[in-house]
């Protein structure tokens, strides 16, 4: 075998053009496949760092099937306590809520995303700190000494990797907190947190009906998810029976934690993996075609070997050894391409990835790459080897004194491979076309505001440190400060940015209506608070009534704005202006009535890929101040250039308050559908690669065919064929192949695009435009790929062609 490999390598070196083309085609296929596999590995296969027995980790949520079976509400805190107390199938049950944590020890305040988490969570997750200890079980009790765990990066960057950090008291959100431990590098549970504090919850402030906690649990060893689900559902039913007003119609969702964490990207990633394997198949078909052509040109060498007594098996082994060398070199180069590919993929993701998604290569990625290479060697090498090793000595001799021209026994197989390549390319291009159209439609969505020339940032006062009145005063002072920056047209603040998805759903009642007996029957609406000037800054048209003013403060009568949908849905036959509504903040408490003073145009607040049809109610920020707001400023020039001015303006109002999530509104829009753009771009890149490879394949086959048919073409010219006839002859052959590929591809695409169902916006999976344009593009590219060999054929000298052997 070693001799075969050595000889194979020598033969490959002797034909550098063939070797380079074959290796590059394989490297492109393997590189693209390995890049995508790294994503699949990161999402679905690679164990998450530090978490023990992660296959027993569950995600638990509550939701109203009547409202939406897709959207989880989270778990109400009292429900969480019941689940935790009553579940016997679980080893641990935890909850966490993300929060801004401002570390103000140092020259300037640093804002981190932190998490309040149940004290025993890290214990049952199995993670150990690198310094100090994790939380004690009693540290989430009300009144316990405030403690915190530092993330590795905070410890390193904020505290200079101070080895004596344990027991040091620092200020977090204005509170003196003792550091009890430092977590290992890379640990950012649940997704991207850098600081952790025990979750201390006042049950009376988080009554039933407020479904706002993310819960996770760990099953006991030997328990199946079905058993755990059955038990939690039974507990949920008991809670509903005891608390019908809040929990009637509430269902419990139990999934594996990993499944939940990657649910958004899983389908598209697997589709992408399928697509990229198509690309690789096209690359393999190209190499197989090259090998078939090479085998034909080596018929004499192989014939001599057979005549000298070589067995067929020995010939096949030798030819496969060459394929093996190609595959190994292709795999190695493919891995290098994959390193760059992953780098590009990471750069293309505009949002922060959860800590557990790590694209670095591990043994799975290396094994995949090698296995793909070896598998491909068999795939593209075996048939050409079988074909070339056929003992056709007599036939070969007969063909030497041939009576006619144009036989080419491998031609049918080569034609078949090109047809397959075109069909595969069409499927990929249609997929890319659909995702691209969907993404373009999303990009062109009218969200109800003018996102141009607008900078946004998040800022807020931690409720543990500041009272509600402080928050009111802060924003009252900040907005004019921002608006006075030269170049700023207007400024305002909102609890929810348009298209950000950062918006809650609240229950409400209209005047004259009784409070609903059950939460699931309540009127629901998106609710947000805004400052005066928000409509002008966003350029949201006020359709009727008036906008908020500074006079709408805590001393004045409560007022709200509603959108067109609310007006249409709630007041179909009456004028909403002057009517009253009340948001049900806590069930059982007397409703706080507010008067509707205006109707505005509908605005999309959900992420564009997760739109829900809820009416919208705008509350006046200064009547019931929120602690955290997104500030928006409309600028006359490039909005990104105003970030530092905005930061300075905030520090001028309160030097301890940092700003974060500084983005232009255009960026917010892009993030609103980034997955679609990301996968659409990758699909398009891979489809482009497929098109390129298929075109090269077609060109190769046509060029080879022209070479094989040189004599035939010469005869035809001698018999009277003119340039046009020869051009038609060659391109006709190519176009027949392309047309066959298109026909087969369209049928496959028709069925395979159904896999994209649910991941497209405003485009049918059988969109005729995408199918039509893609077919036309492939046909044009196919024509071009045929044209060059065809033109060569027309320029043949018939005298030479007739002598050609």
């Amino acid at each position: 075998m070693w001799n075969d490999i050595r000889f194979g390598a020598r033969m490959l070196v002797k034909t550098p053009a063939f070797t380079i083309i074959a290796v590059l085609a394989l490297a492109l296929g393997i590189g693209a496949s390995t890049t995508t596999f790294s994503v699949v590995n990161a999402l679905l296969l690679k164990p998450w760092p530090y978490i023990q027995d992660q296959n027993r980790l569950l995600y638990v949520s509550e939701y109203f099937p009547k409202v939406s079976s897709e959207h989880d509400n989270g778990v109400a805190y009292p429900d969480y306590l019941d689940f935790k107390k009553q579940a016997t199938t679980l080893e641990g049950f935890g909850t966490t809520t993300a929060a801004t944590m401002i570390l103000s020890d140092g020259e300037k305040p640093d804002r981190y995303l932190g998490a309040f988490i149940t004290a025993d969570a890290f214990s049952f997750l199995g993670v150990q700190p690198i310094l100090g200890r994790i939380f004690r079980a009693d540290e989430d009790q009300k009144g316990a000494t405030p403690v915190a765990l530092l993330g590795y990066e905070v410890w390193k960057n904020h505290f200079g990797s101070d080895a004596n950090i344990i027991d040091r008291v620092v200020t977090i959100n204005g509170k003196r907190v003792t550091i009890v431990g430092v977590m290992p590098k890379g640990w950012r549970f649940p997704e991207a947190c850098d600081l952790w504090m025990p979750l201390q919850v006042e049950e009376k402030e988080n009554a039933r009906g407020n479904f706002n906690f993310a819960c996770f649990a760990k099953m006991k060893r030997g328990v199946s998810i079905e058993q755990a689900r059955a038990e939690l559902e039974a507990i949920g039913t008991r809670i509903a029976a005891d608390n019908p007003q809040t929990n009637s119609g509430v269902s419990v969702r139990v999934r594996f934690f990993r499944e939940e964490a990657v649910s958004d990207a899983k389908t598209l990633t697997l589709l992408l993996m399928g697509a990229v394997l198509f690309v690789h198949l096209i690359a393999c078909a190209n190499v197989a075609n090259l090998l078939l052509a090479r085998g034909a040109s080596r018929a004499r060498e192989i014939g001599i070997r057979l005549a000298l007594g070589a067995g067929r098996r020995a010939i096949i082994r030798q030819l496969l050894a060459e394929s093996l060398v190609l595959a190994v070199v292709g795999s190695a180069l493919g891995l290098i391409l994959a390193v760059w590919g992953i780098d590009l993929v990471i750069r293309a993701v505009p949002v922060e990835m959860p800590y557990f998604i790590r694209f670095d290569f591990d043994w799975r990625v290396f094994s995949f790459s090698l296995a793909l290479g070896l598998g491909s060697a068999v795939l593209f090498g075996l048939f050409p080897a079988l074909q070339a090793s056929r003992p056709q000595l007599v036939e070969a001799i007969k063909e030497g004194g041939r009576s006619g021209i144009g036989g080419g026994k491998g031609q049918r197989v080569r034609n078949g491979l090109v047809v397959a390549e075109v069909a595969l390319a069409l499927v990929l291009l249609v997929g890319a076309g659909l995702t691209l159209r969907s993404f373009l439609k999303l990009q062109a969505t009218d969200i109800g505001i003018d996102p141009s020339h607008t900078l946004t940032f998040r800022v807020g006062l931690p409720p543990t440190q500041f009272k509600q009145e402080d928050a009111g005063r802060f924003f009252t002072a900040l907005i004019p400060q921002i608006a006075s920056i030269p170049g700023v047209e207007s400024s305002a603040a909102t609890t929810s940015l348009p298209a950000s998805g950062n918006i809650g759903v609240s229950a409400l009642i209209l005047e004259g209506e009784a409070e609903p007996r059950q939460l699931q029957n309540a009127r629901l609406a998106h609710g947000l608070a805004i400052t005066p000037g928000y409509l002008a800054t966003c350029r949201i048209p006020l359709l009727r009534g008036r906008d908020f003013t500074l006079a709408d403060n805590k001393d004045s009568q409560r007022v709200v704005l509603i959108d067109e949908l609310a007006a249409h849905k709630w007041f179909p036959h009456t004028d909403p202006i002057g009517r009253q509504l009340a948001m049900l903040e806590k069930l059982g408490e007397p409703p706080k009535w507010a008067t509707i003073i205006g109707i505005v145009r509908n605005v999309v607040y959900d992420r564009l890929t997760e739109r829900r049809e809820f009416p919208c109610v705008y509350a006046a920020q200064y009547q019931n101040p929120e602690w955290f707001m997104s500030v928006m400023l409309r600028t006359k020039t490039d909005p990104a250039a105003f970030a530092n001015f905005a930061r300075a303006a905030v520090l001028a109002v309160n030097k301890e308050i940092p700003i974060y999530k500084v983005k232009t509104m255009d960026q917010v829009m892009v993030e609103s559908f980034w997955e679609r753009r990301f996968f659409g771009t990758l699909f398009t890149v891979f489809a482009g690669l497929a098109l390129f490879l298929a075109a090269i394949g077609l060109y190769g086959v046509m060029a080879y065919s022209v070479r094989q048919r040189t004599q035939e073409i010469g005869v035809r010219m001698a018999l009277g064929a003119q340039a046009g006839d020869v051009l038609r002859l060659v391109t006709g052959h190519g176009i027949r192949l392309v047309a066959s590929g298109l026909a087969i591809g369209v049928v496959f695409a028709f069925f395979l695009t159904k896999l994209l169902q649910g991941n497209l916006e405003g485009v049918s999976v059988h969109d005729p435009l995408s199918f039509g344009v893609v077919s036309a593009v492939l046909l044009i590219v196919g024509l071009l790929a045929c044209y060059l060999p065809a033109r060569t054929a027309t320029q043949l000298d018939p005298v030479r062609a007739l002598r050609y052997e």
């Binding site: 009576s403 006619g404 021209i405 144009g406 036989g407 010219m717």
Partner: protein, 220 residues
């Protein structure tokens, strides 16, 4: 019918030097003539035949075909003239493998834009005339060498050329098959077809009316 005057064909050897394949050829061929071009290998016989057949354009001198100055024609005009006036028979038959006998006969007609019905009639005539009706659906590989060359001749004359050029037409055939083909040529010539053949065989040359000897590119 054909008049060549001072015709020369050469190939560059590099450094401005030329290798002459044909030198100062003066040749007249009358209508109804049957000329055999003979000479040793490399004498330029096939080259001369391809120049007569207007496949080769890299020559100098004068070539008149029925008073048409071929040397003044563009490539496309030559191709048109060739298609109207000349048929070709090859030593290796050069039938198209993937086409049946019928389709092989149809090919030259299709390049001359005959209508479908005209083509069908002409092919039927040719099959009948050459007594190969029973073989019309066979592929070349299913025929003997003699039969293949018979088809080759039929194909060469199907479009009614005035001149038939043949390059060693019996070179790949055994003697009895060769004789049949030469007899066929004689008959065609008697019917008025002008024939120019390249041959090594004295016997085949004897079927013609005169012999042109070539040596090192010169007519001797």
């Amino acid at each position: 019918m054909i008049r060549l005057h001072n015709l020369e064909r050469s190939y560059p050897l590099g450094r401005g030097q030329l290798f002459y394949v044909l030198r100062d050829i003066d040749l007249d061929i009358a209508e109804g003539d049957f000329v055999s071009i003979m000479g040793p290998s490399g004498a330029g016989k096939s080259t001369l035949l391809h120049i007569l057949g207007m496949h080769d354009h890299g020559w100098t001198g004068e070539y008149f075909f029925d008073e048409t100055a071929v040397h003044h024609l563009k490539a496309k005009e030559r191709a048109t003239l060739r298609n109207q006036q000349i048929g070709f028979v090859f030593q290796q038959y050069h039938l198209l493998d993937d086409l049946t006998v019928y389709e092989n006969l149809d090919i030259p007609l299709s390049y001359r834009h005959y209508s479908k019905s005209e083509r069908a009639a002409l092919v039927a005539d040719a099959l009948d005339r050459f007594q190969i009706v029973g073989k019309k659906d066979l592929y070349p590989r299913q025929l003997s060498g003699g039969q293949q060359q018979l088809v080759g001749v039929a194909r060469a004359i199907i479009a009614g050329p005035k001149l038939l050029l043949a390059d060693e037409p019996t070179g790949n055939l055994h003697s009895s098959q060769g004789e049949e083909i030469m007899e066929l040529f004689r008959r065609l010539n008697e019917e008025g077809m002008t024939i120019v053949q390249v041959t090594h065989s004295e016997k085949n040359a004897s079927y013609g009316k005169r012999i042109v000897q070539l040596r090192d590119g010169w007519i001797v």
